[in-house]
């Protein structure tokens, strides 16, 4: 295998029922930067049933080419069909770099494809770059429970592949003047030949809170101590029309549900404003919030690690400053009289 034959940056575009997952668009943004550095095309890979119409929409997010396989057998994700489809495309068109969203299905697919085409795959990356001198893809990821970051290289095999965590890369602004082209391929599999059958898809009731979509999050840490502290933080959140976040310790203390947990074993969030109160700043927490636009930390310990990731820090007793802040905000936002304890 000659690795020079491999060019272009590919992004797997995950969809369900024709609706494209945001992570695919985020990766087009990240992929555009990689492709520009390498001076190659950025290509999307879109598989599904009746998805062809969605392909053109990807140009606006940076794609130059979209590879499409439209086939009823691809209606829902299954490893055996998607692995075949992607494997065939890779062998035929030879991408240099191929990135996938680190969703359940994205990880499943990427792992199977890596084995299928015998190449390296870096898992759950949060930073992507190119070493131009060596023309190498540098994919970095947290490992050992977030205790360390590592850059993983794949020197002698192509494509260089990685899965990328959702919400880590920014979704680019759409530019509807961009154009591109579609390349369609056939799958060549029939339903009768397949081993696995999807019997049903059960959607869980919509989560009470979806922090991944929030613009403002106010997060409570163990420093808020108990229900009273929680109520105090909630009042601030309500005043700002913000959603409530929490550290794991607060969730484990039973003060709020797990859907609110931010961090490695909770959700990864990127709000415009993240106010974090009484959180020490353990790496398992900060991996989930460090890409927020503005981070304000309140903690009574000047040495707290949270100040390393915050943009603004306040050393203060939360029980003193938070009620004052809430009161002043109410005045500023002219929201006095609005019930906030709902």
């Amino acid at each position: 295998m000659s690795i020079e034959e491999y060019k272009d940056v590919w992004v797997f575009i995950e969809q369900r029922e024709g609706e494209i997952f945001d992570v695919g668009l985020e990766l087009l943004g990240a992929g555009r930067e990689l492709a520009d550095k390498l001076e190659v095309n950025l290509c999307g890979v879109l598989l599904g049933n009746n998805v062809k119409n969605s392909a053109e929409g990807l140009y606006a997010y940076g794609a130059d080419i979209v590879y499409v396989i439209d086939d009823p057998v691809l209606e829902n994700y299954r490893t055996e069909t998607y692995m075949k489809a992607v494997g065939d495309l890779v062998r035929k068109y030879k991408p240099e770099i191929f990135i996938y969203g680190a969703t359940s299905n994205g990880k499943d697919l990427a792992s199977a494809v890596a084995t299928e085409v015998m190449t390296g795959l870096t898992a759950d990356t949060t930073m992507l770059d190119i070493n131009l001198e060596k023309r190498l893809f540098e994919a970095s990821r947290p490992a050992f429970g977030g205790n360390i970051m590592a850059t993983i290289l794949c020197k002698k095999h192509r494509p260089q592949m990685a899965t990328v965590r959702p919400k880590v890369m920014k979704k680019p602004e759409a530019d509807f003047s961009r154009t591109g082209k579609i390349i369609e391929e056939d799958l060549g599999l029939k339903e009768e030949d397949l081993q696995t059958k999807i019997i049903d898809i059960v959607k869980s009731a919509k989560k009470s809170v979806n922090l991944e979509e929030s613009d403002i999050i106010v997060t409570a840490g163990k420093g808020i101590k108990d229900e009273k502290g929680m109520a105090m933080v909630k009042e601030l959140a309500d005043t700002l029309n913000a959603d409530l976040g929490a550290s794991r310790d607060v969730v484990e203390a039973g003060l709020i549900g797990h859907a609110h947990q931010v961090g490695q074993t909770g959700v990864t969030v990127t709000p415009k404003l993240y106010i974090v109160i009484g959180v020490s700043g353990a790496v398992q927490h900060t991996v989930g919030m460090q890409n927020s636009d503005v981070i304000i930390a309140i903690n009574n310990d000047p040495e707290a690690a949270i100040f390393n990731v915050a943009h603004y820090g306040i050393v203060a007793d939360a029980f003193e400053i938070v009620p004052k802040l809430t009161a002043e905000l109410k005045k500023a936002l002219d929201k006095e009289g609005v019930t906030t304890n709902g």
Binding site: S104, A112, L121, A123, A143, F144, M149, T151, I216
Partner: protein, 276 residues
Amino acid sequence: MNILVSIKQVPDTKVIKVNPKTNTLDRSSAPAILNPYDAHAVQEAVRLKQKHGGKVIVLSMGPPQAANAIRKCVEIGADEGYLISDKKFAGADTLATSYALYKAIEKLEKEQGIDLVLCGKHAIDGDTGQVGPGIARRMGMPPLTNVINVESVDTDNKLIRVHRKIEEGHEVIESPLPCLLTVEKTINEVDYAPLPNMLRAARYEPYVWSVDDLEDVDIKQLGLKGSPTIVGTMWPPEKSSGAEMIEGSTDEQVSRLLEVMSDTQELLAVKGGDGA
């Protein structure tokens, strides 16, 4: 029904420390444990065995000490343990790991027949979740990842029905046996080990295989040599820039905070508007 569970010994990442001078992990700082997800995989295998008969075989690749992780599986109820251990396996990435494990499973399959392979969703150290699907691809088995429930096993028709967790809920999927599942922790609760299991585990010695005990192995696909990825630089994850500290009395701090937040005024106004 013979069930093979692939298990890994890992450092307990809750207590592991990073050496600030070398930016490497001080593995001696952390005790080695059975990967927590794999404990659930073994428990599920034991549960299925109790229902459908057969035996539970565990397999691990690692240094000789990994025998301790296998003993832990015997406590949970595994019948037999195999450890593949050889310098030639060292430095393996997920592709080389799945190759070595596949070669061992192939041999066990030939010797005693395997109807189902279970893996954890991921290992808490390397944390890639790539080994399970890799083994499945090599065995030509359908991989069913992120399984939260084994709904039914039909041993006559060799079919299994499981629930796979996906972003919006779960899907119910049916597959012929043999196949491979990777399991989430929520699939079950790991029971306390009954005393006879504990006694048996304490004395248990797993079968240990070197590369030479496996058949038709392509040495080039093993260990560091067989690994397309390499770990380059490592560093502790922190942003060193630090915060701009807002000093002064509480009142001063609050008013400066309001200023800072007024940079996001537009946002506050919009949110406040539609929320009120």
